[in-house]
């Protein structure tokens, strides 16, 4: 009997506490775990450090955590769609660290894969050199991209079985399979939850071993 990882919303809300580092899947407002973000807002957890591709739209998706001011630190590749994040970032009220998108993806993948980092040519000769060691390998210059992990990852899937094997759909996959590997507690919101054994193993995109909790379908 495979472990059933489906949990009620209240049980998930209880996992959020002040000061956590939280990774969130999604790109702009697509593939974003909106119900889990709502649960995080409702938890009232403060001083959160968020890692996500972007800051969503104003008050939408990850933007809810900017507007609620629960996010005090934000590591992402882009905040241009959310002027509220730009204003807080420029004034210093929210500590915004920008990272090239491909580097961010690899840093998260490293964090979930037990790797000490990767070397990338991305950012060589730019301001990125101020925050990353530059190394030379076989005559080529690279920047060291260090791994990222989080206390909690929030993931949006199209389909989950009750063990946490996941499928994604279209461009809503984006950062979700990566953040799903890189946190101590991985919580999934799925559009559909199916019995274990009904997803063909060949088509599983995120193996259930990475997943700890799945938000119950009725959201309660």
């Amino acid at each position: 009997m495979m472990v059933n990882k489906v949990y009620r919303r209240n049980e998930i809300i209880g996992k959020f506490v002040d000061g956590q580092r939280i990774m969130i899947g999604g790109f702009a407002t697509k593939g974003v775990p909106d119900k889990l973000i709502d649960a995080l807002v409702e938890s009232g957890a403060k001083n959160l450090s968020i890692i996500s591709n972007d800051t969503g739209d104003p008050g939408v998706g990850q933007g809810k955590l900017v507007r609620s001011r629960q996010a005090v630190k934000y590591l992402c590749s882009h905040i241009g769609r959310n002027p509220e994040a730009g204003t807080l970032g420029l004034s210093g009220e929210m500590d915004v660290e920008l990272c090239p998108q491909g580097t961010l993806a690899e840093r998260i993948r490293c964090g979930g894969s037990g790797l000490g980092g990767v070397l990338t040519k991305t950012g060589v000769g730019t301001v990125m050199e101020d925050s990353a060691p530059k190394l030379e390998v076989d005559g080529e210059s690279y920047l060291l991209a260090k791994p990222l992990r989080a206390d909690i990852a929030l993931v949006k899937a199209q389909k989950a079985d009750t063990f946490g094997n996941l499928l994604y759909h279209g461009t809503s996959r984006n950062f979700n399979p990566l953040v799903a590997m890189a946190a101590d507690l991985v919580i999934v919101e799925a559009e559909e939850i199916v019995p274990v054994g009904t997803i063909d193993p060949d088509y599983v995109m995120t193996p259930g071993v990475f997943v700890h909790m799945i938000l119950a379908q009725d959201g309660k």
Partner: protein
């Protein structure tokens, strides 16, 4: 009469051949997608290779969008993937070209297009694209709205990439970035070398043979005869 964006993006599209995989940046670059040859595959960094024109109204799918959140259609043979795989395609040299806009581009092929003082936007995937694509094509109007040059001697804004640009396409010319400087490959009909240089801060190199950037429509074709 074509507008500048049409002139620029139609010329950009002619760089691509069937089988090429190309990433078009948000804004003007993505318009080049309207003019590409059959068989050119478009990549979007949020995780899709093989997208087509925007869907008809009512046929939008929330799970098929571009990096600018615009709805997309998919072509036969398309593939979806996560962001790490997407940037493996980018940095791994699997893109024939990437097309990006510019705030500034200089004669050493440096590109600045992600930030300016007093703005906080983020580089998104631009820094990865410029180091990974086999050809980096900058498409931009030749000058800013107030007429100041965008093609300059040295970028002053924070760089997206250092020495990464291969080709610059504006409404006035096509420039090759070479070790010796910016070489005028093509010039728009009716534009003299002097006029082009006067609108460019960087020193341009004019070879003996410069192709016309496009053919001027004849009087006959304008009147429909």
């Amino acid at each position: 009469m074509k507008n500048n964006r049409e002139i620029i993006t139609q010329r950009v599209a002619r760089f691509f051949n069937p089988g090429d995989v190309v990433n078009l940046g948000i804004g003007m670059p993505e318009l080049a997608g309207n003019y590409i040859a059959d068989g050119v595959l478009l990549h979007t960094e949020n995780g899709l290779l093989g997208y087509g024109p925007r869907p008809e109204p009512g046929k939008e799918d929330e799970d098929f969008v571009g990096a600018g959140k615009q709805y997309l259609t998919i072509v036969k043979g398309a593939a979806c993937f996560d962001s790490a795989t997407s940037f493996a395609i980018v940095r791994g040299g699997h893109l024939a070209a990437t097309v990006l806009g510019a705030l500034q581009v200089d004669e050493k092929g440096n590109l600045a297009n992600w930030t300016m003082p007093g703005k906080m936007v983020g580089m998104g995937g631009a820094m990865d694209l410029v180091v990974g694509a086999r050809k980096v094509i900058v498409c931009t109007e030749h000058t800013t709205k107030d007429g100041s040059p965008k093609i300059i001697k040295n970028c002053t804004l924070p760089l997206t990439g250092a020495g990464v640009v291969n080709i610059i396409v504006t409404e006035l010319c096509v420039l090759d970035v070479t070790k010796g400087g910016l070489v005028v490959r093509e010039i728009a009909p009716g534009i003299t070398p002097q006029e082009l240089q006067s609108k460019t801060e960087a020193t341009l190199i004019f070879p003996e043979k410069i192709a016309p950037m496009y053919s001027e429509p004849s009087v006959a074709s304008q009147s429909g005869n």
